[in-house]
C-alpha cells in the first residue's frame, strides 16, 4: 500500500523527521505512538501533502506511485485520507455539498460519471448512521458550531463517504470522551477490510483498545525507535515514554 523510505522532513530549517522507514501492506492497521514533539503529526501532514514541510531526503511510494510528486487533492483522489487532529470550521461551505463535490472530482479523475442523487443520499444516510451523526449536522456548514466529538465523527463520516484505500487518523482520540471514542472506533472498524490500510497516530494506548492494530511503532525524535505488535502499546502505556527516552 505505502512504503516510506528514509524520510527526512524539516520545517523552517529545523529537521523534524530524521529518517523514517515504514511499510504498510493492504489490510494492515499500524499504530504510531510517541511523546509530544516526536514528529507524529508531522508525519501525518507530510503524507497528506501539507505545504509547510520541506522533504529533504527519502521517498514515499503509494500504490507504486511517487506520493511526494502528487498535489494534495490528487493524493486524496488516489485514495489517501487524513482524519484531522483539529478539524477546521468552514462557515458558509455546506457539509454535504462539499462532500458531493469531492466525490465527483474523484469520480471525474477516474473517468467516471457524477454520483447520482439517489446513490449519494443513500450513502449519506448509511454513513451518518454509522457514526451517529445528527441529521441536522450534515446540512450545516463544515464543522461550524460542532462540538469536539461531532467534528471527529464528521471526519469519520467523510472517510466513510470517500471510501479511501489508506486512512491516516491523526490523534483522532484527542479531546474525545469514551462514548465518542467508541463511536469513532466503531466507524473505523466497520471500514476495515483486506484491501484498506490504516495508520493510527496517537499519544495514548486507550484508542488501541478499540481499534486493535496489527503493528505498533514508537516514534521518538523523528525516528521509529521500536516496532512490535499490539503488546508494545501496552508496554509503552505501562512504562511511559521515559522508558524510550532513557534507552
Amino acid at each position: 500500500m505505502i512504503k516510506i523510505t528514509n524520510l527526512h522532513a524539516s520545517v523552517e530549517g529545523t529537521e523534524i523527521l530524521k529518517g523514517i522507514n515504514l511499510e504498510i501492506k493492504p489490510g494492515e492497521v499500524h499504530a504510531i505512538m510517541g511523546p509530544n514533539g516526536s514528529g507524529k503529526s508531522t508525519l501525518a501532514s507530510v503524507l497528506a501533502g501539507r505545504e509547510d514541510y520541506e522533504i529533504t531526503e527519502g521517498s514515499i511510494e503509494f500504490l507504486d506511485k511517487d506520493l511526494l510528486d502528487m498535489d494534495i487533492d490528487v493524493r486524496a483522489k488516489e485514495g489517501l485520507f487524513l482524519a484531522f487532529q483539529y478539524p477546521v470550521e468552514i462557515p458558509g461551505v455546506s457539509n454535504v455539498n462539499f462532500l458531493k463535490a469531492a466525490i465527483n472530482e474523484k469520480r471525474k479523475y477516474f473517468g467516471q460519471d457524477d454520483i447520482s442523487a439517489k446513490e449519494f443520499l443513500t450513502a449519506v444516510k448509511e454513513n451518518s448512521a454509522l457514526v451517529e451523526l445528527d441529521g441536522k449536522l450534515k446540512n450545516r456548514s463544515v464543522n461550524e458550531g460542532f462540538s469536539g466529538g461531532e467534528k471527529k465523527r464528521n471526519d469519520i463520516f467523510q472517510m466513510a463517504m470517500l471510501q479511501p484505500k489508506f486512512a491516516i487518523l491523526d490523534e483522532t482520540d484527542s479531546g474525545l470522551d469514551i462514548d465518542a471514542l467508541q463511536v469513532v472506533a466503531k466507524g473505523v472498524n466497520a471500514m476495515r477490510n483486506d484491501n484498506r490500510s490504516f495508520l493510527i497516530i496517537t499519544h495514548y494506548q486507550r484508542l488501541l483498545d478499540y481499534i486493535v492494530p496489527d503493528f505498533v511503532h514508537v516514534l521518538y525524535d523523528g525516528q521509529i525507535v521500536k516496532s512490535g505488535t499490539k503488546e508494545l502499546a501496552m508496554e509503552m502505556e505501562e512504562k511511559g515514554y521515559d522508558w524510550i527516552k532513557n534507552n
Binding site: I72, D73, P87, V88, I90, V93, A101, S141
Partner: protein, 431 residues
Amino acid sequence: MDTTVENITSKKDQFIASIDGTIAGASTLSTSHVVASIVESAKESLASLSFPTTRTEAWKYTRVGKIINQKFEVKPTETQVEIGTYHIPGIQAIEMVFVNGFFRADLSETLENNVISVLPMSEAVSKYPEMVKQYYGTIANDKKDIFTALNTSYSTDGLFIHVKGEYKDTAIHLIHINDSDQVIAQCRNLIITEPNSHAKIVTSYHSKKDISSFCNQVTEVVVKENSFLSIDKIQQESEQAFHISNDFVTQEKDSTFHLNTFTLTGGWIRNNLHVHAKGNGTNTDMYGLYQPILKQHIDNHTLMIHDGTDGESNELYKGILYDKGKAVFNGKVIVAIDAQRTNAYQTNANVLLSDDASVNSKPELEIYADDVKCSHGSTTGQFDEEALFYLMARGIKKDTAKRLLTEAFLKEVVDHSDILAVRELVLRYLH
C-alpha cells in the same frame, strides 16, 4: 492665483465644455421646461463647486483626476445593440434599455396600469409633470456634490417608476449600456412607491469592451408609508469604465428599502448611497459585494440617517481583493436626537488575496439619541489556509477549493437578493 487651482479650474471648464458642446441642440431631460428651474440652480452649483481632490475628506482615497483629465462627450446612438448578453437568464422582468444615457424604445417595454407605471423620464415629464416637479431634484443634493450637479445639469434621460400597488411577480430591469468610446452617460432616475405598495427593481450597468466611458448616474427614490422597495444593482462594466452612482433615498413611516450592490467588474467605481429614514419604524438594508482584480478601484460610501424612532438599518459590505485591486468603504450612520430605539448595524469585511491589494475601511457613527443599539465592525484578512488544506485533503482541486471559500464568504450578500435569477447570475460571475 495659485497655479494649481488655475490648472484645475481650466480642466473643469474644458471637461464641462466638452459635455455642453456635444449635448447642445439635443432635446434631453435637462432641457425639459418641467425641470428648468432645478437645472438652472444645478448649473449654478456646478459653476461654484470644484472637483474633489484627495484633500477632500470624502474623496481621500479616490482620485477623480483620471476622469477629469479626459474629454467625455454626449453621444446619442441608434446603433444596433446586441441586448441578449445583458438579459438575466431566468428572470421575469420588464426590460428598460438605455444606451449611452438615451432611452431605446426599440429595445424596451414600457408599462402603465393602475398598479405601476414604468416609462422613460423623457415621457414622464410630459405625462406626469406635476409629480416630476414635486420630487425631481428634491431628494438629491446638488449643492454639495459636483457630480450630482453635473448630472442634473446635463441628464439625458432616465427611468421613471411610479408604484401604486403590489407589483410582486415581475421585476423591472433597467439595463444601461455604454456603447461608444469617450461617452459620458448621465441617466437620472426617479422612483416613487405609494403607501402599501411593493416593487422589485434590478439595475445593471455594462459597457463595451475596450472603450473608455463614464457613467454618472443619479437616482432619487421616495419610499412612502408601509411600502416595500428592493433594488439589486449589478455593476458589470469594462476595465476602462468610470462609474459614479449617487442614489438618494427618502423613507417614510414603516417602509422597507433594500439595496444590494453587486460590483462584479468595472474600472473605477464610486457608489454614494444616501438613505434618509424620515418616518418612524423604517427598515433599511444595504448590502454590497466587490471583487476588484488588476488595478480596479471600487469605492462605496454610504450614509444612513435615522430621523424617525424605532428604525432599523442593517449594512453589510464584503469584498475579496485580487492583484492590485483597491477598495474603499466608508459607512456613516447618523442617529438624530429624537430617533429613539434605533437599531443600526454595520459590518465591512474584506479578504486580501494579494500583497498588492489594499482596502481603506472607515465606519463613522454619530449618535445623538440615548436609547439606541448600534454596532459596527470592520475586518480585513486572508483566506484561512487551514480551511483550504482541509478541502484539498478531501480531494478538491485548489481552484475549486478557493472558489468554494469565495462563495462561502460572499454568499451572505448574494443571498440577500430576493430574486433567484439575480443570485444565480452573481454567483456565476464571482471570480
